[in-house]
């Protein structure tokens, strides 16, 4: 892993939170290399004991404008709770309307779930 170009960016946070290091590495690579997000930065969320990733999704024609999204990685073997999700929201500044939770599996499958605060009506 040390020879991968993403390693220098993440090495501090991988050492700080080894339990979620694998998920962070996998989600970071998926967003930057496969999904081609831009302006990607990595945030430290001590309240959730992990790092989160903030960046800009590539905009398609049907989007209303550029959207900055925050992704919080976690792995399938963990158990998370609503207090954990609430802590994720409050640790982020400015408070986002929604976050994405990226659940990773050991075979590198990643599933993303959009989590909003409260009930949100789906778009048309």
């Amino acid at each position: 892993m040390q020879n991968h170009p993403s390693y220098p960016v993440l090495s501090q946070l991988l050492a700080k939170y080894p339990a979620t290091g694998g998920a962070l590495f996998q989600v970071y690579n998926d967003l930057t290399l496969a999904q081609r997000w831009t302006d990607v930065e990595v945030l430290d969320l001590p309240a959730c004991k992990r790092a989160a990733i903030k960046g800009q999704r590539p905009t398609t024609d049907t989007d209303r404008g550029p959207s900055i999204c925050v992704v919080v990685p976690c792995s399938l073997s963990e158990s998370i709770s609503t207090s954990w999700l609430r802590a994720a929201f409050t640790s982020l500044d400015p408070l986002p309307s929604e976050i994405y939770v990226a659940i990773t599996s050991e075979d590198t499958s990643t599933v993303y779930y959009k989590i909003s605060q409260g009930i949100v009506k789906p778009p048309v």
Partner: protein, 395 residues
Amino acid sequence: MSLINQTSHSKGSFKSSSRRAETARVYAHPIPIIFPEPTYKFLGLSLTRPLNPHCTAVFDPLTRSAWISNSGDATLLWQRGFFGKGDLSRSEPSWLARQINARQMKGKGFTSEEITAKRRAERKQFKLDRAKAMAAAAAEAETAFNEQGRVIAPGIAPDGTRIIPSAATWKPTSASVLSEQSPLDVAPGEEEDIEPIKDLEHLQLSLQEAFFLVWALDCLTILHPETNMSFTLAEIWNTFQNAHIPSSVPQLNAPSPPRFDNPFLVSYIAYHHYRSLGWVVKSGIKFCVDYLLYKRGPVFQHAEFAIVVIPVYEDPEDQANSPFTLQNAEPFTWSWLSTINRVNSQVQKTLILSYITIPAESRVSPTILSSPACFAHYSVREVVLRRFIPARMRD
């Protein structure tokens, strides 16, 4: 099979016979070891040796997996048994092909990810068109009622044709096809001086796949990430059981105390059971289950069965003393079981509950955990779950 500049592509899962023959030729071998046709026999025994590719992988403790960066080995392990997954792709490593396609063909590539992206963009456009048509028809019906007091059917024009598009008849307009451009912007004069893209993707094997290739088939060697020395089987046995401990270096010492309900052992037993029966076993995270079983492989047909691994302790004391909280060891609630069953019946998969019995430490001494011989003491029992609707299912 190169995914760059392919000249023909199949529509969805309806393959032409030449395409099917090509797939059958590429994915002909179910395991990495090939048994060649015997050239001569002695007393009915074939004297040719099986061909073993001897692949190499590197263990990564943070992601708890084995990485294969050599593209020859990666292609071989994928094509002979569908082992592993590209870490930047849906299935086989195709990231480099997609990057090259994005440069050369600007969004007209034929890897499975590109075809899916195109299909999703078209469906999104169809939904927008349909929403617009519905809103316009509803507004028209409103004005007709307010002004003239007559009620018209909103979706039908006066001459009887549908205004609102249906999925079967909608065609993408040329504008929406052109708008599906790759986000990469290649300026006109750039074709000359392009540096080759470095392949940043690797094939990642889960611990279960790696152990199966090492122990059951003996066609894989795993290297230590820092020293590049190959692990012995005993070191692999210990390291994989310790992988759940968060660490950036492999933990080579035997787990203490050794436990029968180590999460790696329990999930490996399920994996080995189905693999050795000939199924192709892949991760089931997308369908809320542990494993998916394919009859021949993902490229042939969708998975028919979804496996949920349920560990059962022979002795409840072991569960009370356990340092692990294995998933599904507690009884399911009916609502959770119904949810998983619904999710899988929507995609036409049958749910199978796979009960793995964990032997009691009072009956079997944990010293037996020093080698894979301990697997003989576990058992796997399956229960097939199907939703039964008495009113409808009369045959």
